[in-house]
Symmetry: C2
Subunit: 430 residues, 2 copies
C-alpha cells in the first residue's frame, strides 16, 4: 500500500464539515479507487471549540490558516474559507509557496486571481484544483478540461446560482414578489443574510468567468463580465413573460466570436419550453456547445454541504491518483489574453415594460422612436385599465443592437406620461 | 516540446474518419492543451482505396488490424472496428500484448470482455479507455471514474440508445406505427440495415453493463442484464400511456441494494412531466444518484461521427497528458463480483393492455385474478366500442413483485375472450 495522501483543511464551515464527513464515511471506497487513502492531518478555523458534528480528535489545529498552509505536515491544502482576498488568498499563496497542492471551492478567489495563482502553482510544480468553485457537485471543470478537451468550445451558458434560481422559481410558482421570497429564503437558509453576491449576479459572474477561461483558453477576466441581478424583477414581469411564452431566469452566458468573448450575467426571458426553463429551485444547469460534441448539458445540485464536498473530494482523489492537468486546461503561458467585448456589441431580443399614463398619441410616439432607431418591434401588449391610471405596456423587440435598444428605452422614458424607469430584460432564444 | 503521442487507428468507418478529422482540425488546440501533439502513424481498414474524405497520405496502411496493433510504430491503438469478438478483440489483445495503450469505442467488446481486458492491460501497465463506448460525446465514463469518485453510487439510469429513442419520439409525434418509422429511420441512416442491436435493447444493455460496473465497482456482467426491446410497442400503447400521463421510453436502469445489482433494459412508462420524458430524438441522457452529489444528469448526442470522435480524442488527450486511472475506476483485483439479481426480485408498477371480446363478467374475472395474486390495481381504461369487436382494456398496477405481475398476465391471457398476448410495460416513476 502506498502512503496516504495527507491533507490540511482550512475552514470548517458547511463545506469543510462535509469534506471531513465524506473522507470519513467513504474511507474504504477512496482507498479502493485511489490505491491509497486520504488522511487529514491538520485543520484550521476561527473557533476550535465550536460544535460541528465532526470530530477533530488527533488533528493538528491552527488558528492561522496561512501558518497551517506553510507549516503543516501535508501534501495538499484544502482552502474552504472563501473571499477573493485576505486570509483565503494568503493561505493559498502560502501553500503554493511551500510546494503543496491546492484544492479550493473559492470562486471569488479564482475569478479574481486565478491566472496569477495558476502561474505560481505551475512554477512550484503543484496542482491548483477548483472543481467545487463552479456548480457544486456537477463535474463541469473536469468536463471542460478533460472530457471535452478535443473540442473548440463556442459557447457556454447556464444557471449558475441556485439561490437566484430558487427565488425566481418561487416567485413564478407562488405569485409572490421578490422581497417576500427573499425573506423566506433567508429564513430557510437558502439565502445569506447579506444576499448581494447571489441576487446581484456576482456569484454567477465569478463562476462564469472561470468557465469562460476554461472553455476559451483565455485568462480569467472577471472585471469585464457584464453583471445585472434580479432585484428589479417583479411579479408583473413574470406574468407578462408567461403570456409571451417565456420564463425569466438568471443566466450566465459566455460565447466567442471573431470580435472576442462575450461574458454576461443577467436575467433573461427564455422560451417556456426550452430545457433551461425547466431547471427549477436550487439546481444548476450548464449547457456547452462544442464543434465536435455538439450540445452537452449537465444538471445537478449547485451548492450545499454534500454536493460541494463531492467536488472537493474528486479533486483530492485526482491528486491522490497522480492525475494532473493545468489549472485552466492549458499552461498559464499558453492562455490567450482575455479580450472581452463590451455589451455595446451585444445583439439580441429585448423585453421592455413601461408604466404609462394613457394619453392620446403615445403609441404613435413609441412607433416613431422605434423607426428612428431602426429597431423592429415583435409584439406590444397592453391590458384593459381604468382611465387616468398608469398601465403597463410591454414591447418586445426583434434582434437588435444593445445600444439601439438602450437608446429606444432612454428616449421613451423621457416621454410625457411614462412614469417609472422602464424595465428591460434581454430575450435569449436558447 | 515533448515528442508527440503516436497512435494507430484500426477501422476507418464513420468514427475512424471523425477521429482523423478531429486530430487534423484541432492539431494546434491539442498541442496547446496536452503540451504535445498527437500524430497518426498507421491505419488499418479492409479497403485502402475507398473514398473517405480524409487523406491517408504518409500513413502506414495495414489490412490486418491485429498485425498493426502488434507491429506499428506507435504508443496507442485506437480500436474502431466494433463487435464483441473476432478481429476487434484480437486487435485489442495484440495491442496490450505489445504494451500499447488502447482506446476503443467498442461497447460490445467491453461489455463482454471488459473485465479480462482490464486485467491484461493492468498487467501490461497500459491504459484501456472507452469513453466513446457509452453515450457518444457525453463524458460519463470520466464522470463516474473521476468527477464523482468520492460518491457511493446508488443508481444510474438513462436513455442509452439514440436510434430507439428516435423511433419512439417519432411514433409519438407523428402517430406512426413502429414498422413505418423504422423503415424511414433506415432510409435516413438513423437505423442500421440490421437494426436488432438498437431496437432489441442489446446496444443499450452493452452500455448499461459498462456503466453499472463503473458505478458499483463490480465486474462487468452483460450476460445477466435483463433485456427487452421496443418492437412490440404500438401506437395504441403510446396513446394510452399519454392518456394516463406517461410517455414510453426505452431505458437502461441499474441500481444496487442489499440483495445485489439490478440491471435492466426495457421500455418504460415514465411520467410525462419527468425530465427524462423530454429527452427526444437521437439524444442520450444519463441520470446518476450519488450519496454526496445527489442527482446528476448529463445529456448530449449519443452517437455520430463527431460526438464519438470527441470522446475518443478525450481519451487520447488523457494518455498524451499522462492521465491514467484503472479501466473500471478501481484495479481489476479490487472489482467485486457482479452479483446481478434476477428480474423475479424486481418490484414496480405495471401497464398491461389486453385485447378483449366483450363478454359479461370479464371485469369480475380480472378483479378475481388480482385479488388471488394480492395485486392492487391503480387504474382501468376501456373506451367505447362496437358490440362483438375486440377492444383494448388497459390496467395499471400499483407497485408489486414481477412474478405476481407476470402471474396475473398469464392467468388473464388464458381467459375466454382475451385475444392476443397481453402487452406489458413497466412503469418507472422517475
Amino acid at each position: 500500500m502506498t502512503t496516504p495522501l495527507k491533507i490540511s483543511v482550512a475552514g470548517l464551515g458547511t463545506v469543510g464539515q462535509g469534506v471531513l464527513k465524506l473522507l470519513n464515511e467513504q474511507a474504504e471506497l477512496i482507498e479502493r479507487r485511489c490505491g491509497r487513502g486520504i488522511r487529514v492531518s491538520a485543520v484550521s478555523a476561527r473557533d476550535k471549540s465550536k460544535e460541528r458534528g465532526v470530530s477533530l480528535d488527533g488533528l493538528d489545529f491552527y488558528e492561522d490558516a496561512a501558518a497551517m498552509a506553510a507549516q503543516a505536515d501535508c501534501d495538499v491544502i484544502v482552502e474552504l474559507i472563501g473571499g477573493s482576498d485576505g486570509i483565503a488568498k494568503k493561505t493559498v499563496e502560502a501553500a503554493i509557496g511551500a510546494s503543496r497542492h491546492v484544492v479550493t471551492a473559492n470562486k471569488a478567489l479564482i475569478a479574481h486571481h486565478g491566472g496569477d495563482l495558476a502561474t505560481k502553482a505551475e512554477q512550484a510544480g503543484v496542482s491548483l484544483c477548483f472543481e467545487a468553485a463552479v456548480a457544486g457537485g456537477i463535474p463541469i471543470i473536469k468536463a471542460l478540461k478533460e472530457g471535452l478537451s478535443g473540442n473548440t468550445i463556442t459557447s457556454i451558458h447556464g444557471i449558475l446560482n441556485g439561490t437566484g434560481n430558487y427565488i425566481l422559481s418561487r416567485m413564478r410558482d407562488e405569485g409572490l414578489e421578490f422581497d417576500e421570497v427573499l425573506k423566506d429564503a433567508q429564513r430557510l437558509g437558502y439565502a445569506e443574510a447579506d444576499p448581494g453576491f447571489d441576487i446581484d449576479g456576482v456569484d454567477a459572474a465569478h463562476k462564469l468567468a472561470i468557465l469562460a477561461s476554461l472553455a476559451f483558453g483565455r485568462r480569467v477576466d472577471f472585471a469585464s463580465v457584464h453583471i445585472e441581478g434580479i432585484r428589479h424583477i417583479s411579479q408583473m414581469d413574470i406574468r407578462f413573460a408567461e403570456e409571451l411564452g417565456y420564463r425569466i431566469k438568471l443566466l450566465g452566458i459566455a460565447s466567442e466570436n471573431d470580435k472576442g468573448i462575450e461574458q454576461r450575467v443577467h436575467p433573461c426571458l427564455v422560451p417556456a419550453d426550452a430545457q433551461i426553463a425547466g431547471v427549477e429551485g436550487v439546481f444548476n444547469a450548464i449547457f456547452v456547445e462544442g464543434d465536435f460534441v455538439g450540445s452537452l448539458m449537465m444538471e445537478g445540485r449547485g451548492a450545499g454541504e454534500r454536493p460541494t464536498a463531492s467536488a472537493v473530494c474528486a479533486d483530492l482523489m485526482d491528486i491522490a491518483r497522480g492525475i494532473t492537468a493545468p489549472a485552466f486546461g492549458v499552461r498559464s503561458d499558453d492562455l490567450k489574453p482575455a479580450n472581452t467585448v463590451s455589451m455595446d456589441h451585444h445583439r439580441g431580443g429585448y423585453y421592455i415594460r413601461l408604466m404609462v399614463l394613457d394619453r392620446p398619441g403615445i403609441f404613435a410616439d413609441i412607433a416613431t422612436v422605434l423607426r428612428d432607431w431602426e429597431v423592429s418591434m415583435k409584439t406590444i401588449l397592453q391590458h384593459a385599465h381604468a382611465p387616468g391610471e398608469a398601465v403597463p405596456v410591454v414591447l418586445t423587440l426583434h434582434e437588435t443592437g444593445e445600444s439601439s435598444a438602450l437608446g429606444v428605452i432612454k428616449t421613451i422614458s423621457g416621454f410625457d406620461g411614462v412614469l417609472e424607469t422602464p424595465v428591460m430584460i434581454r430575450i435569449e432564444n436558447l
